[in-house]
Symmetry: D2
Subunit: 137 residues, 4 copies
């Protein structure tokens, strides 16, 4: 499996008064990566959330921040699939600046019907797209 | 040890298109709780960050989101000290709506000099205030 | 007409790398004031947006930032009604630190049905509550 | 003068519970456009704010929101220089989805020394870069 990757420049708005990334902003970037990855699989968040009224609430998120991230840094985010359950998905995120890891995230999402806020199995096509990305036989 | 507690009403801006709290906003509320707790100990973030150029970067944050939080919910956040190290601090956060836990966070912070972004030992008075709160002998 | 007022302490998360309020965060505080005012009138945003599927999009917002606002400042926000139209509402906001005005906002909102994103007349009871607040005969 | 332009996809995090852009997030996008434009002129925000301790506080911002912006919309933002003063800068922003204007912003910034929070004249090279962009003789 090759991870999904994207690169951003750390912006003014991501940084706190010390000029380093404020950690709640980092979680917004984690969410953006998932959003971009889903779009790359052919499942954009607008269709999913607005048209189909499905969601992907995070139920677990373990985070390690191993080095400060500064305004202007070129941040490379990558994401891989750790496990694909009936309704759940476990992702491993890595964030790197230059050749140095700056943060790691282990995230568990659950496919959810927004009307009743109930977990439900991944739709067949979305599941197939995730499995293909993850090279799960 | 009695935990530090505060209560907020979940706002429009905290919620996503499903009307439930968007998890990056939850981390901002975790940070607000730490900010309010420090202020209650007599150490406000303005003095700490701006005047003294010290910071409290988070190096580890484990999160569990066990039930959705909705706009208008009365969210009770509480925080207790798990461990006080030489330069580090481990906090346990609980967030409750009504009598139901909605989220838990285990957070490790490190007292840091912002000029060099180096960890340094807690200042004596701040350490004493935290230890008194935590009822550490 | 007495304005609606509220007071907050300017937080870490509101401030940019210069330690002063980042202006997009100020607009979030303007929105919070409107949210708190509506709640004080008996019309909370959760009922309005989620249960009734109505919204209050801003169509015009003129802003003046006359003095910097710093972390830790006690910010007093006030809001008064300038005009109440068939579907629109014009508000004047003032933000003060100590005895000094720091910002002013003129905001026009429109009562809107979210399903069709069409303006519609204020519901009778909500209109009456706004008119009473504004002491409009 | 050709305006500076950029294009983004409206994200999940920009949108409120109605699935339309929450206006405080729009101001963050206005700020991003200014940040990207400055970078395109050779003056990145990190160098300006962190290394040189200069800032660009907004003192006036007039906004018109003429049509709702929805998740997934391709938003084209453009920015032109209206006036370049001794220490000030007046920008006109236009935001378009498809062939339809969705928002307009008139913004006045002031070049500021962050240590004393005092306006000061534009540095010669930065002023020249802005004037060249604006085709001011």
């Amino acid at each position: 499996m090759n991870p999904f990757t994207r690169e951003i420049i750390v912006r003014f708005e991501h940084c706190d008064t010390a000029g380093i990334m404020f950690y709640p902003r980092f979680f917004a970037l984690v969410n953006e990566t998932v959003e971009d990855w889903f779009a790359s699989l052919g499942f954009d968040f607008k269709t999913l959330h607005i048209d189909q009224r499905k969601g992907l609430p995070t139920v677990r998120l373990e985070s390690e921040f191993v080095a400060p991230v500064r305004m202007g840094d070129r941040l490379k985010q990558s994401l891989g699939v750790e496990a694909l359950g009936n309704a759940s998905l476990e992702l491993k995120h890595l964030a790197v600046v230059g050749d140095r890891a700056v943060a790691r995230f282990d995230q568990t999402l659950v496919f959810t019907d927004l009307a009743g806020m109930k977990a439900e199995p991944w739709p067949t096509e979305l599941r197939a797209a995730i499995a293909k990305f993850a090279e799960i036989a």
